[in-house]
C-alpha cells in the first residue's frame, strides 16, 4: 500500500527537480564526432629524420640544422664547437597533408628535396584510426667535384633516392612512437660488389616532459651486410623546446649528414668512441 504512494511522489519530485533545471544543457545529446590526434611530435623531424608531422597549408617552416664536430676532438677544438656542418632548408605545406621541402647541406655539398604525403591520421570517435602514416620520397644530389675526373662521370651518378613509410602512434599525451621502414637507392656505389638498394628501419620515440619540452630518441638500423663494415647505425638523443613559432631541437648524434641518404648510409662514427656530435635544429614557421 505504502509503496504505491511513494512511487508517484518520487516521479513528481524528479520532474520538479528537472524543471528547476540544475543544468539546462544536461539533456543535450552529444553529437558524435571524430577527434583527430594532434602534436604526435613537436615538429616535423624526430632528430635527423622526418616525423609524421606536416606543416599546415601555405605555411613555410624554415630550418637550420647545425652539427658541430666530435666531442672526442677534445679541448683544442672546444669539443667540436670549432667545426660546423649545416643544412639550410625548409618545408612548405601545399595542403595540410602534402608537403614539399628542400635543403642544402655542407656534407657532400648536397642539395636535397622531398615530397611528403600524410595519408592516415590517428583518430578516435566516429572514425577510429590507431595510427598516423606518412609517405616521404627524397632525392639528394651531391655537387662535390668528381673524385675521379678522368673517369666517365654522369650527372645521374650524383643522385640518390630515399623512400620512407612513417607509421606513428601517440600512445598517451606524453608518449609517441614511430617506425620508419626506409629504402635508400644510390645510383653510384663505392664498389662494384655493393648493392644499389639498402633497406633500413628507423625507430623514433618522443616523451613529453612539460607541455613545451620533449625528449626524443631516434635510431636507424641498417641490417648488416649491406654496407661497408666501417659504417655504423645512426643513433640520436634529442631535446625539443618549443616557444611560440620556434622549435629548438638540441641533440647528440653520431651521424654527420642531416639528410636521409647521408645519415642512414654514410655514418661512420661510434658512440662508444666518443665520436658524438652536439647539434641543434632551429625551426621557424612563416605564414603566407
Amino acid at each position: 500500500m505504502k509503496k504505491n504512494i511513494i512511487l508517484p511522489l518520487l516521479i513528481f519530485s524528479v520532474l520538479t527537480a528537472k524543471s528547476q533545471g540544475m543544468d539546462l544543457l544536461d539533456d543535450e545529446e552529444e553529437v558524435p564526432t571524430t577527434n583527430y590526434i594532434s602534436a604526435t611530435f613537436k615538429t616535423n623531424r624526430v632528430v635527423n629524420g622526418h616525423s609524421i608531422e606536416t606543416v599546415a597549408k601555405r605555411e613555410f617552416d624554415f630550418k637550420i640544422s647545425h652539427r658541430f664536430g666530435f666531442l672526442s676532438t677534445g679541448a683544442y677544438e672546444l669539443f667540436g664547437l670549432d667545426q660546423a656542418n649545416i643544412r639550410i632548408g625548409g618545408d612548405y605545406g601545399i595542403t595540410d597533408n602534402i608537403n614539399v621541402g628542400f635543403g642544402r647541406s655542407t656534407f657532400g655539398k648536397t642539395f636535397d628535396g622531398f615530397t611528403k604525403y600524410k595519408f592516415l591520421k590517428q583518430s578516435s570517435g566516429v572514425k577510429k584510426m590507431p595510427i598516423s602514416a606518412v609517405w616521404v620520397s627524397h632525392i639528394a644530389v651531391t655537387s662535390l667535384k668528381w673524385s675521379q675526373p678522368l673517369r666517365e662521370n654522369k650527372f645521374s651518378d650524383r643522385v640518390s633516392y630515399v623512400h620512407q613509410l612513417l607509421v606513428a602512434r601517440k600512445f598517451s599525451e606524453g608518449l609517441s612512437i614511430q617506425l620508419s621502414p626506409t629504402l635508400v637507392h644510390k645510383n653510384l656505389v663505392d664498389s662494384a660488389n655493393r648493392n644499389n638498394d639498402i633497406i633500413s628501419i628507423g625507430v623514433g620515440l618522443r616523451q613529453k616532459i612539460t607541455s613545451r619540452t620533449t625528449i626524443n630518441l631516434e635510431y636507424y638500423y641498417v641490417p648488416t651486410g649491406q654496407l661497408e663494415s666501417s659504417k655504423t647505425n645512426a643513433l640520436s638523443i634529442g631535446f625539443d623546446i618549443e616557444t611560440g613559432g620556434h622549435v629548438f631541437q638540441f641533440f647528440l648524434t653520431n651521424a654527420t649528414a642531416p639528410f636521409e641518404k647521408g645519415f642512414i648510409t654514410d655514418t661512420q662514427a661510434k658512440w662508444l668512441d666518443g665520436d658524438i656530435r652536439f647539434g641543434f635544429n632551429i625551426a621557424r614557421v612563416f605564414n603566407f
Binding site: P8, S19, G21, D23, E28, D96
Partner: protein, 187 residues
C-alpha cells in the same frame, strides 16, 4: 487500490503540468559563437568557436554556456595546436562552461520584438578554475529568435593559463571575449 492509482495519476499529471509551465520558456542554441581577441603591440591573436552550446530559461533567467576548447579555430594552424597543447591542455580540460543568471529577465519580453539590455553574472570555468564574471548583455528579439550579445575581459593567469616569459609580450593580460548567439525556443 484503484483510488490510489487514480491519486498517483493525478499527482503525476500535476507534476507534468508544473514541469511544462516552468520549462515553457527554454531557449537554446548549438551554434553560438565565442570569439576571443588578444591585442598587443607585437601581435593580435583571435579565435572563434562556432559550436557553442547555450540555453537560457526565460522564466527564471538562468543562462548556461558550454564550449569545447578544441573547437576554437585560429587563423594559424600552429597557434591552434599550441593553444590546445600548451596553454589549455584540452585533452585534460576539454570544456569551458558558464553558469549564470540574467538578472533582469522580467524586463526582457521574449514574445515582443525589440532590443533589451541586461546584466548577466555567473561563474565562468576554464581549466577547472571557476571565477565570478559579470557583464552587460544585449538581447534582440526578432520573429521568435533571440540574439544575445555580450563582451567581457578575462586575464589568462586567473585561470591557471601559464604564459612563458618569451611570449609574454605577444599575449595580452586582458583578453576580450565576445559572445554572439541566436537562440530559438526549445520544444
Amino acid at each position: 487500490m484503484k483510488k490510489i492509482t487514480i491519486l498517483s495519476l493525478a499527482l503525476l499529471a500535476i507534476g507534468l503540468v508544473a514541469f511544462k509551465n516552468h520549462s515553457g520558456g527554454i531557449f537554446k542554441t548549438n551554434t553560438g559563437n565565442i570569439n576571443f581577441f588578444s591585442h598587443t603591440s607585437v601581435e593580435d591573436i583571435a579565435a572563434d568557436n562556432h559550436k557553442v552550446k547555450s540555453a537560457f530559461d526565460a522564466s527564471s533567467g538562468k543562462i548556461q554556456f558550454s564550449a569545447l576548447i578544441k573547437d576554437f579555430e585560429f587563423e594559424k594552424a600552429l597557434m591552434q595546436e599550441h593553444f590546445n597543447e600548451n596553454y589549455m591542455n584540452s585533452t585534460k580540460f576539454p570544456k569551458t562552461t558558464f553558469n549564470g543568471m540574467i538578472e533582469n529577465m522580467d524586463a526582457i519580453k521574449i514574445g515582443t520584438d525589440g532590443i533589451y539590455t541586461s546584466n548577466i553574472s555567473g561563474k565562468l570555468t576554464i581549466k577547472d578554475v571557476t571565477k565570478d564574471v559579470s557583464t552587460k548583455g544585449t538581447f534582440t528579439v526578432k520573429g521568435g529568435v533571440v540574439n544575445a550579445k555580450a563582451t567581457f575581459q578575462i586575464n589568462p593567469t586567473d585561470y591557471n593559463i601559464e604564459i612563458p616569459r618569451v611570449v609574454s609580450k605577444k599575449i595580452s593580460k586582458d583578453i576580450k571575449v565576445s559572445i554572439d548567439a541566436d537562440y530559438t525556443h526549445a520544444h
